[in-house]
Subunit: 302 residues, 2 copies
């Protein structure tokens, strides 16, 4: 069978036409995320972008925010722990003229010790793919992005995870706040990034650290061109140090379980650098490869 | 002598006409902060708003962002420790047709143990006023706001301080981010605020906590009307817990030094509630009273 595999997130649309073995026959990426659809018909958009593959595919499988309240159809979250079999059993059929075999991957939710819930949509599929690609049933996974996810996998099942607001915070602050004029998010300055990592552990916490780029620039301690990378180091450092303090288990990061970083090339490099700084070795996995592998695995495990 | 005392911050203009004893003869507040001036003439604006008091005043003294790079005239920061005498000696004369005796209060800077600098403009004057009003030469002060300041006073001098990005972060997130549709910043829900205070100490840190309001709403754990107060509790709690971990001295908050909260009525109430939750008793001081008292003290200490 061939598969039309779609990862439809908040801010991007990615589709692959996969053959029986999961090899990529064709692919397409657009910036038409779920948040930009604003009433546009979802089926029509897929037909417009992937119409030529559709008649060839035996199945269409979609993951990501396309299954959220603001997506094509809301799909309930599956509870953790969840393995490939649990997820593939829980795929939701969608009635649409687009294809007679169209399914959505459910997101996951987990409940922390304090009773508060956390959620993901799309990352569960990347995790399934990354575990398969690396042949690692037990791992800690970091999926950097708008809302970074850190997840624990045991015996191939996702047992718990935590979300971090890192990417969105950085984007918001460099776009709208009093840091917007101070921090250039597009220039990477390695030494300033490292300085941010060094200082990220300040006991006063992130709310204090967020004022530092501005104070450093007005007092001449940093150039404006360095402040964006300094801020990036502060927030990525805070995330990693936060994880190393918790995710429900002290010492989680250093207990020998392999650490996989699954994301874009730029973020993988940035996080690998940061993890090295804290002496936490990791392996990187391409986020694209992970999600298409995950979709293929889920489609073929039924 | 009578004094025209002006607190000119980023987002507001506040002026008082004070008699010889510091009693208020007249006052005015506008939203014409320094950031909204955009090339408008500063002297002209004061003349327009306070013109009728000007001929009666022996002196005009201004504090706040009016002395910053984007203000009327940039005034260098004074280093800590700084007492009333240091600040009043460092008042900067401004040549203007507005008044022959027109001065600006300098801001303060301090350098932490890690060598990084922090800065304030305007709060030094509030602190001088608050110490005078409460007759407390030794205190810890919390000035909640866009950029909250926590400062230590010893023997009437400001010895060190730390800034927290709390107010601006809350405003930015509830205005622009993915939390904007989730968190209503204008509804106060006491129990949700308390829940935020309870959870603010999560070891994973603030980047994780910032995702919680959204996760709690999409999983039905909180109503949308509660999420804004929950977020408020999370960030104010993070600030207080951050201070209690540091400000260069462990146990700073609990070593018997009085804690003064100096701000608007709404913020003073909110912070007092939060401090009580963490069993940290405090006294509140009106931010307006503090700044006009500080300006009067500085004007009469020369």
């Amino acid at each position: 069978m061939t598969l039309l595999a779609i990862d439809w997130g908040s801010s991007s649309f990615r589709a692959w036409h996969l053959d029986n073995n999961g090899q990529v026959l064709a692919q397409v990426t657009t910036d038409r995320g779920v948040l930009t659809m604003q009433g546009q018909d979802f089926a029509e958009y897929v037909q417009q972008i992937c119409g030529s593959w559709r008649p060839l595919a035996d199945k269409v499988l979609m993951a990501g925010m396309v299954g959220s309240r603001n997506g094509w159809q809301e799909v309930p979250y599956l509870p953790c722990p969840a393995a490939v079999e649990d997820l593939s059993k829980a795929l939701v059929n969608l009635n649409s003229h687009l294809h007679q075999n169209l399914q959505l991957v459910p997101g996951l939710q987990c409940t922390g010790r304090d009773g508060m819930k956390d959620v993901m949509r799309g990352e569960e599929t990347q995790i399934i793919g990354a575990l398969h690609l690396t042949d690692t049933p037990d791992a800690l996974l970091c999926l950097p992005g708008t809302h970074s996810k850190w997840a624990k996998a045991e015996n191939g099942a996702i047992t718990e995870f935590s979300t971090f607001f890192t990417g969105e915070l950085f984007a918001q602050l460099t776009r709208h706040s009093s840091l917007a004029g101070v921090c250039n998010p597009h220039v990477h300055h390695e030494a300033a990034f490292m300085l941010g990592l060094e200082q990220a552990g300040d006991v006063r916490g992130l709310l204090h650290l967020l004022f530092r780029p501005r104070a450093a620039v007005v007092t001449g301690q940093l150039e404006a061109e360095q402040a964006g990378s300094f801020l990036s180091g502060l927030v990525i450092g805070s995330e990693i140090l936060g994880v190393s303090q918790g995710l429900d288990e002290p010492g989680l990061l250093t207990n020998g379980r392999p650490l996989l970083v699954v994301g874009s090339e730029v973020l993988n490099r940035r996080y690998q650098k940061a993890l090295e700084f804290y002496q936490l070795p990791c392996r990187t996995v391409s986020g694209d490869m992970a999600v298409l592998t995950g979709l293929h695995r889920l489609a073929t495990s039924q």
